[in-house]
Symmetry: C2
Subunit: 208 residues, 2 copies
DNA sequence: CTGCTTTAGATAGCTACACTATCCACTCGA
DNA sequence: TCGAGTGGATAGTGTAGCTATCTAAAGCAG
């Protein structure tokens, strides 16, 4: 365990915590107080830290993701659902208002317009509605006006990402890319968007 | 205060909490235990809830944003910095490793390649490095391979967003759009990306 | 004027989350 | 043989974001 801690940078008490929580499978016991951890444990531990630290996933969410990685060994869409559930935000607005329901209606209509193939119960629809409802309550018309631009942009990067997943030959590693693509891809895209805001502000203002 | 609570959907104890924390300016006192709250208070309260609930911003981050909205009444780039700081994730990985510093070097090189005008101390650079370092530690080469696609995508939507801000005639409302665009735009883009993953999975797999 | 409700302001408490610390009985390794 | 390390169990910590309670003072219907 000491080696696992040193190679991963994760403190021993935290590793014990992850073992207790069922995020990390136990090592192979060689004695009452001795166990072996292999490269798979190291990799799993790094995956957990990537999900939690970079992706902002909760411990409970990470547990579900690794559980899904183990069970849905061949169904990419189920795993995608698990990964998407895991990246959902912790705080959510009040959805029990007429305004929110109206926003959700608009989202489903806009999706239908674009002929996107989406499961009607997908939680991601609610997340879009959250953003539009908030924009609406503050009179920010731009988000709705530019909905098409946002959707085109999202579709563009999603197409690249799905293609990358399908290009992976090995099924097990393909499953892992579904998860990591969802989580790390989001982190990369949002942080690059912040940089692009700086660049575009400077460019469009014609300054330095 | 009762009316403010009813119209915003925020419980009275929470409003009191926001007042204590300095997120919401106090009402105009009409007596020792009486104060008036106007439409501006309602709007501010909705802004706070949008930041916290939809954008996942912390209470401390929201306080800084509203403070910046008050003080930098004319400098969009300062305000952009405040908004970007506010949307940063709460948990961050260990950045004190050679691997992370190498990832950060790669990010600055890639930015230079693209001739993006970025302040070299921008915290967003570190966020990109976080994602690339995590991808690297797990052997996910795709994120680095597709870096250009991510950057193009981010630039594309950022250009639209900056344009929308500059199109706003009134300076005060333009400042507000900087904040709301940063926060709500991120929520909209990431949730649409999740939907697009579903759509593209179905489309590229040729299924329903 | 009476009595019920509401209010501002202050203080204290709560729940969830993600660890972190301590203890114990081992056991490995020099 | 002995000190550092281990696995397992139990308990404690710190932060964040509220939530509850109390007090004195209005407000408002009858």
């Amino acid at each position: 365990m000491g080696e696992l801690s040193r190679r991963s940078g994760v403190p021993i008490p935290t590793i014990k915590f992850y073992l207790r929580e069922g995020l990390l499978p136990p090592g192979v016991a060689t004695a009452a107080n001795q166990a072996d951890y292999d490269e798979e444990h190291l990799r799993r531990l790094r995956l957990i830290r990537a999900l939690i630290d970079v992706g902002g996933v909760t411990v409970a969410g990470a547990r579900e993701v690794v559980a899904a990685l183990g069970t849905h060994a061949d169904d990419p869409l189920d795993l995608l659902g698990a990964a998407q559930t895991a990246v959902e935000p912790r705080h959510r607005p009040d959805r029990d208002t007429p305004q929110w329901r109206a926003a959700r209606e608009r989202v489903t209509a806009l999706i239908a317009d674009r002929r996107w193939l989406i499961h009607p119960d997908s939680p991601a629809i609610d997340l879009v509605a959250d953003a539009l409802a908030a924009a609406d309550s503050l009179g920010v018309d731009e988000l709705l006006d530019k909905f098409g631009e946002y959707a085109d942009t999202a579709d563009r990067i999603a197409a690249v990402e799905v293609r990358a997943v399908l290009d992976r030959p090995d099924p097990a590693s393909r499953m892992e890319l579904v998860v990591l693509g969802t989580v790390l891809g989001e982190a990369l895209l949002t942080s690059l968007r912040l940089l692009a805001h700086q660049h575009e502000s400077a460019r469009q203002l014609g300054g330095g």
